[in-house]
Symmetry: C2
Subunit: 204 residues, 2 copies
Amino acid sequence: MKKIDTSTEEKIKEAARIVFYKKGFAATRTRDIAEEAGINLALLNYYFRSKAKLFEMIMIETMAGFFQNLMMVLNDKNTSIDEKVMEVVGKYIDLIIKEPEIPTFIISELRNNPNLLLQKIPLKEVIETSEFLKQHQEAVKNGSMKEPNPLHFLINILGLTVFPFIAKPMLLGSSKLNDKEFEKMMLERKKLIPMWIKAAMSVG
Amino acid sequence: MKKIDTSTEEKIKEAARIVFYKKGFAATRTRDIAEEAGINLALLNYYFRSKAKLFEMIMIETMAGFFQNLMMVLNDKNTSIDEKVMEVVGKYIDLIIKEPEIPTFIISELRNNPNLLLQKIPLKEVIETSEFLKQHQEAVKNGSMKEPNPLHFLINILGLTVFPFIAKPMLLGSSKLNDKEFEKMMLERKKLIPMWIKAAMSVG
DNA sequence: GTCTATAACGTGATAGAC
DNA sequence: GTCTATCACGTTATAGAC
């Protein structure tokens, strides 16, 4: 039940999101945002003091939204580790298909601002005390999980899930794939990745 | 036997590479490059007409160098498919450890120039006619390879290999890892990824 | 080839009318 | 709150002396 806010302030923010996602901070002009929002350039500064402030707001919201899913799933006490893998993979593939520019946006913009993440999102604390970590340790102990380092495990899940979207321009450039076929492949991966992960993490 | 060229032209190009890799096209100032090269700003335009021309040169060289490894390995008629996986993983992990900014640079800059890749590098043609593709088809036929789509296979290899470097700021932000430990983990993956891939691609 | 000085332009931000 | 007009500044690129 999300209230649709069509106020000028919200219109500017949504326009900023679109343009920043597509071009990044350095390459976007405040005029681009104003045009996208259908408003006057002066209004941008009236509502949001500066381009930098507006950007930081979008950046933090985007990262928080993106990592919230991960943190919630990893901390769910009612799911097994296999179910957590399925949830993470499924949720992120759906999310990124809906908003394909987010992963590249985060990666590109984090390059110029590497500490923005740590300051605003308690990713480290959440993961270190997570249910996921406990379940992984348990699985290592009973032998069903061969890889002892949970970070390798997490990297593999996210790499298999997120990487193809980041590398999409290269994949389309190196095959006959079109956009629709690409999306179909990504949906296939919702089932494939958990299976691959299970097989891979059981060897060693 | 590479000739060391310390001409002004080469100094500018190397400086441009450093600054572009770090900040991207839009965020770098020609003054940054001139300062990095220890030369006067006017010389940049004397040797390379414009910022855009200089950038395009760096970009194309970088992508060509990056994908050349892949194309060579995938076309080697003297290695098995398992050996190809080992070679790709090993080569890229070593390469990216040496030049850590390249993957994020390519991804970020390709966003504004998605067709630069296709025009200048025959990635599609090489892969479509590659020895790798034939060997994959053969392995599917004899049952040792369960995943019938070679693109899934390729995505998985590259995702497991390249993704952690792209996501490094996030990984360091979500764990106690420092730079040295990160590199150690990446070197571990040279052995782990081929093993994981073999296990994963044998199920289905 | 290399420099200094400066032109030409684009961009972020603001003043002030309405 | 919203607009037009404009400022102030940074940036790319070039002219011209050496």
